[in-house]
């Protein structure tokens, strides 16, 4: 290990107590909690905006969430944080019938279970088996599950085939896989899928609207939570400041972003696992950390919103929730603003195999195809949108995909431990490192809160700086 005298000096008298790398929800939560503990923080964000995988836009006068959107029961950390900063919630619209386009035919149904005839029995059998198996995977420590290596060697897709799942059951699980991990079932480790399902409280909790993770939206939008936290932190948040290097010394760290170098007692790295390897660490991270970063890729899930003069589907007793086996928008929600008499908004997800093709299309073709999908589900009026926007998370260089990571078979047992375990004064955050609701906004907040407490331990309680309340360096 080579440490310059300058680095030692600066680390001995740190500029701040803790540096946070990444101003997504997780990093901002960590910074906020540290600030609330009276510590001085500096936050470096590589892109020009804060929020990471939460973002927003205004389309035809209507606010839409381009990234993380929904919250539900059990996601108490993101809800508490939103309450703290005054961002309110409203129920996702679910009144009326849902619609499914399946095998070339349209059907309406109520509740969460689509009409699949005799196939429904098999869908139930597979869901039960997945939920039962998921409960054997300890939260936060999937490698400790019974037969962990065996489960990890399987993909979700190969397990479905081995379980003799019907084509319908496989296709429905594929929809869940695209929505949840942004990938096809063959691309994700079965152990990871099971761990994720267990952390989210089961498949129903993960996928349902009423009583599930899609139950509510934020009135001001999820991005507003990040914006308000960043505003509170003021100059402590540096945008357009990608961190290139983190040096660890005996009693501190030195974080370099462009021309700026900041000394601190600890650093919280709150970027997606695959992006950790973009930072040069000195001394180098243990091999398992570097290898994990290479093997923990983000999925591909894009979102598309169409705005209409009215939520016309409600006139026909439709909820706006739809499923399709054709794509590109394979699952839809009514994302209209709360209250009656306003605009209607349909949200469609394009993920996995659909996104790989659709993401590369010209903007106008993407719009036409999504509206065509919406019309397929809700009739020709869906073509008459007054506004449209889409967000391709795979095209975001400082996010590199979404909604979360999708590690492939054989990766979880050897590398999951590197997601959250600190390496000296380097403390990890980000939703992938959460021990509950990983992949969700709630997981991001939980991981940020955990990382803040770990980082605080590196700040000497005798430090005269400890009692300060100023956020900025």
């Amino acid at each position: 290990m080579t440490v310059t005298p300058e680095a030692v000096d600066r680390a001995t008298a740190p500029d701040v107590d803790v540096v946070v790398v990444g101003a997504g929800l997780s990093g901002l939560t960590a910074a906020r909690r540290l600030h609330q503990l009276g510590l001085r923080v500096a936050v470096f964000e590589a892109s020009s905006r804060v929020g990471g995988r939460v973002s927003s836009a205004t389309v035809a006068g209507v606010h839409v969430d381009l990234g993380g959107t929904f919250v539900g029961p059990g996601q108490d950390r993101i809800i508490a944080l939103a309450d703290e900063v005054g961002v309110r919630r409203f129920p996702t619209h679910s009144a009326g019938q849902n619609v499914i386009r399946w095998r070339g035919q349209h059907r309406r149904y109520r509740g969460t279970v689509p009409p699949m005839g005799a196939n429904l029995l098999d869908v139930g059998r597979i869901q039960l088996a997945l939920d039962r198996l998921a409960r054997t995977v300890p939260r936060g420590n999937p490698a400790a599950a019974p037969r962990a290596a065996e489960l990890d060697a399987d993909s979700l897709g190969s397990w479905l085939r081995r379980s003799h799942a019907s084509t319908t059951a496989r296709d429905l699980i594929a929809i869940a896989s695209r929505t949840t991990w942004g990938c096809e079932p063959d691309e994700v480790s079965l152990l990871h899928a099971l761990h994720y399902i267990h952390q989210a409280g089961g498949l129903s909790s993960m996928l349902d609207t009423e009583g599930g993770a899609q139950e509510e939206h934020f009135i001001e939008g999820s991005h507003e939570i990040a914006l308000r936290i960043a505003a509170d932190l003021g100059d402590a948040v540096r945008r357009n400041a990608p961190v290139q290097r983190i040096e660890t010394t005996d009693d501190g760290v030195l974080v370099s972003a462009g021309d700026e170098r900041v000394a601190a007692r600890a650093v919280v790295v709150a970027v997606p696992p695959a992006l950790r390897s973009r930072i040069a660490f000195s001394p180098a991270l243990p091999p398992v950390n570097a290898q994990m970063s290479q093997r923990w890729p983000a999925g591909v899930l894009s979102k598309a919103y169409a705005v209409y003069e009215t939520p016309f589907w409600r006139e026909r007793d439709l909820s706006g929730q739809g499923l399709s086996d054709t794509g590109p928008a394979f699952i839809t929600f009514d994302a209209s603003p709360p209250g009656k008499g306003g605009s209607g908004v349909l949200l469609g997800f394009v993920g996995g195999v659909y996104a790989r093709e659709w993401d590369g299309l010209p903007a106008e073709e993407r719009r036409v195809r999504v509206l065509s999908s919406f019309a397929d589900l809700f009739g020709p009026r869906a073509l008459d949108a007054t506004g449209y926007i889409d967000q391709r998370w795979g095209a975001e260089s400082w996010v590199a995909g979404g909604p979360t990571a999708a590690p492939g078979p054989g990766v979880v047992v050897p590398y999951a431990g590197a997601l959250a375990a600190p390496v000296g004064r380097v403390v990890w955050a980000g939703t992938e490192s959460a021990d509950r609701w990983t992949g969700f906004m709630d997981g991001a907040v939980r991981a940020g809160e955990r990382a803040a407490l770990r980082a605080r331990d590196f700040v000497p309680s005798s430090s005269p700086d400890h009692a300060r309340t100023g956020a900025s360096a």
Partner: protein, 148 residues
């Protein structure tokens, strides 16, 4: 006579000319249809002409073009014991884009049996084929404009 029928339609910004080229170029068929290994027919295609298709894992089958309206419609049929399998293709310009439809129809005495057995699998692949046809038509148009 019983007819079993499924179709898939989507809108695209691709031009009718580019889509028509994909429909009538034998080399493009296997590129646009993941289930197809080989397609052979004489160009330009004409009504009454025959060709040959080989799907992955199945024997070669002879087909006959039954409709060719440039920029509008194309159809061909394969005779099976007790049924005729047809593949109607249509396109129509609309204010919202070019509407492209691929379908599968099974008619004849055994249609009621072959529909669920054979037609359903073919129908399940139609959305992917329409997406690939239109995506590749867009790509062809971009290549042509870059080369011109």
């Amino acid at each position: 006579m019983t007819t079993w029928r499924r179709q898939y339609t989507h809108l695209t910004t691709a031009s009718p000319k580019a889509v028509w080229k994909r429909w009538t170029t034998p080399e493009d068929w296997a590129v646009d249809d993941p289930d197809l290994r080989v397609a052979e027919f004489a160009v330009p295609a004409r009504v009454g002409a025959t060709g040959r298709v080989i799907n992955h894992g199945t024997p070669a089958q002879t087909f006959t073009f039954t409709e060719l309206q440039p920029g509008v419609a194309m159809n061909f049929r394969i005779r099976l014991p007790g049924a005729v399998l047809s593949f109607p293709h249509h396109m129509r310009e609309t204010p919202n884009g070019l509407s492209v439809t691929h379908g599968v129809e099974i008619s004849g005495p055994l249609a009621v049996v072959l529909g669920p057995l054979v037609g359903r699998k073919i129908a399940a692949g139609l959305p992917a084929v329409v997406r690939l046809v239109t995506t590749n038509a867009l790509r062809d148009a971009r290549s042509d404009s870059l080369g011109s």
